[in-house]
């Protein structure tokens, strides 16, 4: 406005405390208070580290989803894709045991295969979205069905079990500890930190936000829109593979009900964290807080007897809707 047009010199930016930015943290604190009220041992180190470790699968997937959603995309296939990747890993490891034994060589092969399969599956989604010019909602709804059918087919309607000896070699990746910190927590933390840096401090991250904000502007600003979009889906696939890499040592098996509705949990975590569903703005730390919030809710439901824990996913569904409502309210207030 002209009335203030005189103030042109850029000044040091005042850090503004916004409720919107701190909302997720506030919710986290409230849940912790609630949990402690229900059970005195809730805040014990053991329980908390257990919660974070269990949230690491969804955590990795939700970090990938943050990239996809920030760019204005969506990936509904992540749950099925995780189950498919886990199943393929088990088949590959079991198949390699006779020739390569049950040591880390075989497990390493499985891990590489899991990450590669996830990346390729993500690339397929990304390719259909960019080159095929199909709505991401439709593409990933389709691949959701395809991956789910493939895991059922591979398991022949039953369950794929990991070779016991290989499972013994592999299991420390989930249950082990380094400096007393569970390995999955370390992996989750490292991935989150790297992802936050990528999103905030690299041209790739800036381009993702630009595309999510306005694809036309991005195209007119010399950004290779299709390539960046494709990369977000590949990254999502890679991190789904990562989730499978952590899942297999914990459960040692995969079947048609593996990772069902993980997409709901991952997308809910992203939205709770403050990433805009319509794209243009995303934050990884928010997603991490969102993932932990969802795990806390599940944990708290198990601690009390008033509400059935079977309603857990109803809470997650409701949270997505409420979070998006809040995002819209904030936008209108601006």
């Amino acid at each position: 406005m002209t009335a203030t047009a005189g103030e042109t010199t850029p000044q040091v930016r005042r850090p503004r405390v916004r409720l919107g930015a701190l909302g997720p943290v506030l919710a986290l604190v409230l849940l912790m208070i609630l949990g402690t009220a229900l059970n005195g041992s809730f805040l014990s180190l053991g329980n908390l580290s257990n919660i974070v470790a269990r949230s690491s699968f969804i955590g990795l997937i939700a970090i990938g989803a943050t990239f996809v959603i920030t760019s204005g995309g969506l990936d509904l296939s992540v749950g099925s894709m995780a189950a498919f990747s886990a199943g393929m890993m088990i088949i590959i490891i079991n198949g390699a045991v006779p020739s390569l034994g049950t040591g880390w060589t075989v497990v390493g092969l499985g891990i590489v295969a899991g990450l590669a399969i996830g990346s390729v599956a993500g690339a397929a989604n990304g390719f259909l979205v960019t080159a095929g010019r199909i709505e991401p909602f439709i593409v990933t709804l389709g691949t959701l069905g395809i991956f789910r059918a493939l895991i059922t087919f591979l398991a022949n309607g039953g369950t794929l079990n990991l070779n016991m000896a290989a499972a013994d070699t592999y299991s420390p990746l989930y249950s082990g500890k380094i400096f007393d910190i569970p390995v999955p927590i370390i992996i989750f933390a490292v991935v989150a930190i790297v992802a936050e840096i990528v999103l905030r401090r690299t041209t790739f991250g800036r381009h993702i936000a630009a595309i999510g904000s306005n694809e036309q502007v991005a195209r007119y600003s010399a950004i290779k829109v299709d390539r960046v979009r494709l990369m977000t889906y590949v990254l999502q696939g890679f991190l789904v593979g990562g989730a499978a890499v952590l899942y297999v040592p914990k459960f040692g098996s995969a079947n048609s009900s593996t990772a069902v509705l993980w997409e709901l949990q991952a997308i809910a975590a992203v939205i709770i964290g403050g990433t805009m569903l319509k794209g243009g703005f995303g934050r990884i730390w928010g997603t991490v807080v969102g993932v932990i919030i969802l795990e806390l809710i599940g944990n708290i439901l198990n601690l009390q007897s008033l509400i059935s824990p079977y309603l857990n996913q109803a809470f997650q569904g409701a949270i997505i809707v409420v979070a998006v409502l809040l995002q819209r309210g904030r936008k209108m207030a601006n």
Binding site: M1, R13, A209, S213
Partner: protein, 508 residues
């Protein structure tokens, strides 16, 4: 236009000592304004002068902080969100509010569908829509989808819609900004018909000649203050501009330096064919400003976008500094020193919900890297430089680009384009919808760039601007070049004759 209704003295709608603040920022100071039946009352002023806010208050979209609104002699509180339409006060937004997928008839009766026995009476709505369009003398099929109409036709649909609601006050926000001369003429005829029926028109425009021609009275706002309300007949473009800016604008256009006819060719386009582009050939010399005139839709933007590789080129050659080039996208053209600045600020130019810094550096992000990481300090320095160089005025540096006034958005976009240090810049409508003070600044920047040895293609629908800045002017019509004017030939009359097809190569 003569005052068609001098006798009707009483105002239909008036604002009395209206003030408005957004938070702590005052934007209107005790404004008195009224419009009479059958009158066209124009509001002019620079961007940020408070015109849009005043209009929104007059139509109920905003409530005044203090002061009153009188409608039909009674003090009223207008209902929000366009509900004032039911009272007969209709605001036609600059970005027309029509759903692209609906048909014309559905749009006209949207929210007021005629029904019989619980079902919509399709036939009656169709007949009424046809009758409405007939009274406006426009040939639009009521069954056509809005998305298939031109901007001018959409505007006519908006007007038909307003009439169907028995509008007594019609408020139009820059209705001619995106219209060609023909379309503007049609719009003015409509406005005249409406005033003859006693409709009061409030009209915002940046085009002073239109304001003089169309309005009975003119109100000038500056910095939220009412400067004057005068009869249009006593106003000249100079006095109007002076009142808007508060200073004299004698040197709106900088002096032209002599073009150097021996300067090397920097851009050469030969027989270019692309969508909407038919056999275009032209040369551009170092330090030259080459104007592209023509009506809206004559293919000027299509030429620019085909040259920089935004759209597919069918055939033809393009040479930059003698080297044949074939750009597959903006990245390549920018790397060669050829930049294109779009005319669509909000749709294609700026990320309106992001800050100034990411907008400025978006095109040239790789220049702000430290290793593999973005160097935000270097970006901030770039923004500080651009703010000084292009006089970008923001409340504070953390505002989002969408919150800037149109003029400052344009300057930010200019800064973004110039960040790539291009040798050749294609500027598409660089002053569309911005105030005269900022226009003057941009004209001087363009001339200074040319004087530095940059070469500029200036695409503009404002003839004065093309004439005032260009060394040479190419006139386009229906995707083809129909004339090339130099020196003394560059006159308004010559350009108009060419662009209307009265004279020129393709006219035969």
């Amino acid at each position: 236009m003569s005052n068609t209704n001098g006798a009707a003295g009483l105002p239909v709608l008036s604002a009395n000592r209206i003030s408005k603040s957004f938070g702590e920022i005052p934007v209107l100071f005790s404004i008195d304004f009224d419009v009479r039946a059958g009158e066209v009352h124009a509001i002019i002023g620079e961007n940020g002068a408070g015109k849009s806010t005043l209009m929104k208050i007059l139509s109920g979209f905003e409530q005044p902080t203090s002061g009153t609104i009188t409608y039909d002699g009674k003090t009223v509180r207008l209902p929000p969100n366009g509900e004032a339409e039911t009272l007969g006060i209709v605001l036609i937004h600059q970005e027309l509010n029509l759903a692209e997928h609906l048909r014309v008839v559905d749009s006209i009766f949207l929210g007021r569908e005629i029904s019989r026995g619980g079902l919509m009476d399709v036939r009656q709505m169709h007949e009424k829509a046809q009758a409405l369009l007939d009274t406006l003398h426009v040939r639009i099929d009521p069954n056509a989808r809005i998305g298939t109409l031109s901007v001018a036709e959409k505007q006519m649909v908006e007007i038909a819609k307003a009439i169907s609601r028995d509008a007594r006050v019609l408020i139009m926000d820059e209705p001619t900004a995106v219209l060609s001369m023909d379309e503007t003429q049609t719009l003015f005829e409509q406005i005249q018909r409406l005033t003859q029926r006693g409709v009061a028109i409030v009209f915002i425009s940046h085009k002073l000649d239109e304001v003089m021609r169309l309005s009975d009275r003119v109100t000038v706002l500056r910095d939220g203050q009412l400067i004057a309300t005068v009869a249009a007949s006593v106003l000249t473009p100079d006095t109007a501009a002076q009142m808007m800016v508060g200073r004299e604008l004698s040197n709106l256009y900088p002096p032209k330096h002599e073009p150097d006819v021996d300067a090397p060719l920097v851009l050469s386009v030969k027989h270019l064919q692309a969508a909407g582009v038919d056999d275009i050939s032209f040369d551009l010399r170092k330090g030259e400003i080459l104007g592209f005139a023509g009506l809206v839709g004559s293919g000027r933007t299509a030429v620019a976008e085909a040259v920089v590789g935004l759209t597919h080129r069918y055939t033809g050659e393009i040479e930059v500094r003698g080297q044949p080039v074939h750009f597959a996208g903006v990245a390549q053209s920018v790397a060669t020193g050829l930049a294109y600045m779009t005319k669509d600020r909000k749709g294609k130019g700026l990320l309106t919900n992001m800050g100034l810094r990411p907008n400025l550096t978006l095109l040239t992000l790789t220049r702000h890297l430290k290793g593999i990481f973005l160097d935000t300090a270097s970006e901030t320095r770039a923004l500080e430089r651009a703010v000084r160089r292009f006089d970008i005025r923001a409340r504070d540096p953390s505002v989002r680009a969408g919150q800037l006034s149109g003029g400052n958005q344009q300057k930010l976009m200019l800064g973004k384009t110039m960040e790539s240090e291009p040798e050749i810049v294609i500027m598409d409508e660089p002053t569309r919808g911005i105030d005269v003070g900022t226009k003057q600044q941009i004209y001087h920047i363009i001339a200074a760039l040319a004087a530095e040895g940059k070469s500029i293609v200036l695409v503009s629908s404002e003839l004065q601007e093309v004439i005032g800045l260009s060394h040479r002017v190419i006139v386009m019509r229906l995707g083809r070049i129909v004339g090339e004017l130099e020196g003394d030939q560059i006159t308004e009359e010559q350009i108009v004759r060419h662009q209307m097809g009265i004279e020129g190569r393709a006219a035969a």
